[in-house]
């Protein structure tokens, strides 16, 4: 249900991570198993949009971090989700 790009942005919010670290982090905080194909499809898209960037590293496991644009997008998305959650919760209470 949740867009994998949003999950990656959320995972990188507390610091840089490489692919496998993002995968395990997402499984821990969202309970969602993101496949390697899905993860790297989303990473490609986010890097093209300039919302994340690769960190220079000698290791094959290249870490990524949030850019300023990416952080702003994540905040906007969180705001929208927060409004959605509040609205839905209120309606459920009055239903």
């Amino acid at each position: 249900m949740i867009d994998p790009t949003l999950l990656i942005l959320a995972s990188l919010a507390d610091g840089e991570k490489h692919g496998y670290a993002m995968m395990t982090d997402i499984r821990d905080f969202a309970g969602v198993r993101v496949g390697a194909g899905t993860l790297y499809g989303a990473i490609t898209r986010l890097e093209e949009l300039g919302w994340i960037s690769a960190v220079d590293s000698d290791d094959r496991r290249k870490p990524y971090r949030l850019t300023a644009d990416g952080r702003r997008q994540l905040e906007e998305q969180m705001g929208a989700l927060d409004r959605l959650v509040k609205c839905a919760t209120r309606r459920l209470r009055h239903a």
Binding site: Y20, G35, A36, G37, T38, G41, T44, R61, K62, A80
Partner: protein, 464 residues
């Protein structure tokens, strides 16, 4: 599994692998690979290929996969076999090869073959299809071809190699026996009527007996593989369609479904058919010296005009047992109803030396009853006509009528009881619905402005 996933990862576009390949391979090494992971990587590779615009590679891969899948399916499908025999025809027949062919392929003849315990044809189909449909199915599987040098090929396609060969053997026997019976009868009545031996008629001899049936599946496999490849490539192209194309497809599908549902509001119509044969005089050469034989087409037209005359149809419509077109009769004069019946519901088709009379109506049993009445009228009319002519002309004609060797009208296939409706044509209606839906979709897309995307989906969809 790790090897399979590594191979799947190679399907990503080259430029993508140059950039992400090493870290992607490292991720695969870290994960616990399973079938889900493999499917995920394959899906990711396909999407990335499409996104990168090099979808022709994917089309080629999908075409190959489609061809392989089609081959696999063709190997799983039940095998079909074709057996054939060749018969040489010498001389001319009283009713011709077409007449004998119609007799051999008549409903009664094929029904007897289908139900013969030693053959027991189409056992599965007979459990869920009416016998009429099974007979039609068998007719489609019988192939009879006439060659220029008087040879006749008889072939049959079936699921069982041995049964296919035996059926061809039976068909050849039926051809020979029918011809022999006709010739024997002709000799007998000729001798009775003219007190001399009849000139030689048609002789059939088997040139090639039914051969061991050959497999049709092996011959069809290249075409199937090609169709599979075509389908695979088409799937990729469809996947590339932009969103409006999917919306158009949805409109067209909805139109198709609605039209099909609406078609069930139209009452069904059923057609009953009889096949009749017009047998020429048994000794036309002698007879035609003084009295010319009427051409087949003229004779059929005359019969049709007689049974479909306004008075004849009025009598049928008003017959209490049939009580046809009750609603129409309350709105229109009976003469108009009779004209509409003749022009729209009754058809006469010629296939010399036989012809078909069909009648279409809302009730299958009444359709059959009407065709039976039309047959009775035609035969009675023909007998009456012959008697009148015999009385008027006397001599040889009187003798021919007495020995029943004049122009005879015979029923080859009795009036069928239709099981499946002939109208409404739901395929055409569904097609029209599809086209209408497509047009409506195009108009809707043209006048509708795109709306703002959902706030939650503001992040563009990831490739994964």
């Amino acid at each position: 599994m790790r090897t399979w996933i590594a191979l799947a990862a190679k399907l990503y576009p080259r430029h993508w692998r140059d950039r992400y390949g090493p870290e992607f391979d490292a991720l695969i090494e870290d994960t616990n690979p399973d079938w889900c992971e493999l499917a995920n990587v394959l899906g990711g590779a396909m999407k990335m290929q499409l996104k990168s615009g090099t979808y022709w590679k994917l089309a080629v891969a999908m075409a190959a996969a489609g061809a392989l899948a089609a081959l696999a399916v063709s190997l799983r499908l039940p095998e079909r076999f074709m057996s054939s025999a060749m018969v040489q025809v010498h001389g001319e027949s009283w009713i011709g090869v077409e007449g004998i062919q119609r007799e051999v392929l008549s409903r009664s003849s094929l029904a007897e073959l289908i139900q013969r315990p030693s053959l027991d044809l189409y056992r599965g189909e007979r459990q869920w299809m009416p016998l009429e449909d099974v007979i039609d199915l068998m007719r489609r599987n019988v192939q009879i071809g006439r060659k220029a040098d008087g040879r006749l090929s008889i072939a049959f396609i079936y699921l069982d190699r041995d049964v296919a060969r035996r059926v061809v053997q039976e068909l050849v026997t039926k051809f020979m026996e029918t011809n022999l019976a006709i010739e024997r009868n002709r000799q007998h009545v000729y001798q009775s009527a003219w007190n001399e031996h009849a000139p030689a008629g048609m002789v059939m001899e088997v040139l090639d007996p039914p051969a061991q049936a050959r497999s049709l599946g092996a011959e069809a496999r290249p075409a199937l593989a090609l169709a599979g490849a075509h389908l695979g490539a088409m799937l990729v192209l469809i996947w590339r369609w932009p969103r409006p194309a999917w919306k158009l497809a949805a409109f067209a599908t909805a139109g198709c479904l609605l039209a099909t549902a609406a078609s069930y509001l139209i009452p069904n119509r059923y057609t009953s058919t009889v096949v009749m044969r017009l047998v020429p005089p048994i000794d036309a050469r002698r007879w035609t010296a003084s009295l010319p034989v009427e051409p087949f087409s003229n004779h059929v037209h005359r019969i049709a005009a007689q049974i479909l005359s306004e008075d004849s149809l009025k009598e049928l419509i008003l017959r209490p047992r049939l009580n046809l077109y009750e609603r129409e009769r309350s709105r229109k004069p009976i003469a108009e109803v009779a004209r509409e019946m003749r022009d729209q519901a009754v058809t006469v088709k010629e296939h010399a030396p036989s012809f078909e009379i069909s009648f279409t109506y809302g009730d299958p049993r009444i359709a059959q009853a009407v065709v039976r009445e039309l047959v009775t009228k035609a035969i009675e009319g023909n007998i009456e006509e012959q008697r009148n002519r015999a009385r008027a002309e006397g001599g040889q004609y009187k003798l021919m009528v007495e020995y029943r060797i004049g122009e005879l009208l015979e029923v080859l296939d009795p009036a069928s009881l239709p099981m499946a409706p002939v109208a409404p044509n739901r395929t055409v209606i569904a097609g029209l619905g599809f086209v209408t839906g497509l047009l409506l979709g195009a108009v809707t897309l043209a006048i509708r402005r795109p709306h703002n995307p959902s706030i939650v989906r503001a992040v563009p969809a990831a490739a994964g």
